[in-house]
Amino acid sequence: MDEKITQRSVWEKISAKLSKRSLWMLHYCTGCGAIELPPTMTARFDMERFGINPMVTPRQADILLITGYLSVKTLKRVVLTYEQMQAPKYVVGFGSCTINGGMYWNSYSTMKSLDRYIPVETYIAGCMPRPEAIIASFNELINKIDRGEANSWKDYYNNYNFYKENQEHTFEGPIETYNDIKADAALFNIK
């Protein structure tokens, strides 16, 4: 990891310094954690002061905030959404349910471990985490981008087979995603 950081060119360092100030979060309420997002966005906690804005469509978003448990039905949409987002993209797993199923560990309907399906940048533990925790995790993400460590999105291009295998296991069949990940990786030269 350290080697990689020192390899960054000056331009990349400046780029990280500027782009960390603008992170757009996809407005997707996947679970109950969505209830703490309005307070985070609005007057009391106001995450726009860090340049974090809710965005409507996956094409424009940088952060995919998974707010809580994902039922298998939603997980399918989340994978589609994730693939539509433009790299670099960061996934934040919010709440215990994304870490190990949390409260719904024995439910037949929710997935248990998010990083099997898409690469996760940071997790927020708790059920449910407070708005302060969301802001703290965003700050952590901002620091990671600044240090050049927020590279988990590359993992999806490099280890696509691993993710695809898990997705297909959970969806019990192939998933049609409209995006050719490997061709994209070659086209945009992602290593």
Partner: protein, 296 residues
Amino acid sequence: MNTVLWIVFLPILLFVIGTFMLGYSRKYVARIERRYGPPIQQVFYDIFKLMSKKTNISHGWMHDFAILMLLGGTLLTMYFVPVPGFHFFAQYGDMLVIMYILLIPALGMALGVGETANPNGSIGISRALMMLAGYDIPFVLTFIGFAMINHTTSMYELIQVQQAGGFAGWGLISQPLLGIAALIALQGMLGEKPFEVMVAPHEIATGPMTEMGGKFLGIMMIQHAISIVVELTIYINLFLGGAVNWFDYLLKLFILFTALISVNAVFGRFRTDDAVRFMWKIPLPLAIIGILFIIF
């Protein structure tokens, strides 16, 4: 030589003004909403972030080309609108040319969005074109009225006429009906609320921008930043007596923009049909009455 410098630096200058104005509007609205708000240079960060995205999914060459058409149309308009110290192109193209090329960005957007084949985008663009029909007619009419009084269609000469008359010579003072009609139409032209339905996130997932990400959205934001300055400048030149120097110009920009975003902050948005109806019910009759006053 001076002209060449202007041609090179004018886009950059207006872009910087535009980004800071957008940042200011976000901060201003945030304060009304009792928030702290983003830093004023936030829009610059956003554009930089978008331009440095690693992947940019394109939907075919028309998509790429239309985005350039969008930016090109706005830049072209920009050169024909006189700003203090620079009116080189303004003597070659009058107001009619400006009204004509102002439509190019909208058409470019329509082409590009059509190529993305996203229904939300198509709905958004059809609304944007409908709104165009709503605000463009009153705006053109106010201009025709103005040209009739002064017997010229050149924007530069109109500024000269107004400045010769002092404060009372301002278009807004001498022809208040036309001035108000154009002000309302300007609100629609800028796409501020209540005439914002074509990019409404709740109704149609930001419409034309739905499939735009990365550099595409970055160019659209640059275009937006320049175009708000250009559109406000047109209004200043026609109705607020133009500007004598840059201090005067920036002050007028700032005051006019603040007035418009104050309305933006405390209103919801009209539906498309209501918006067009409103445009044709209030600014259009105002403009017609104003013209009738001039004729008789």
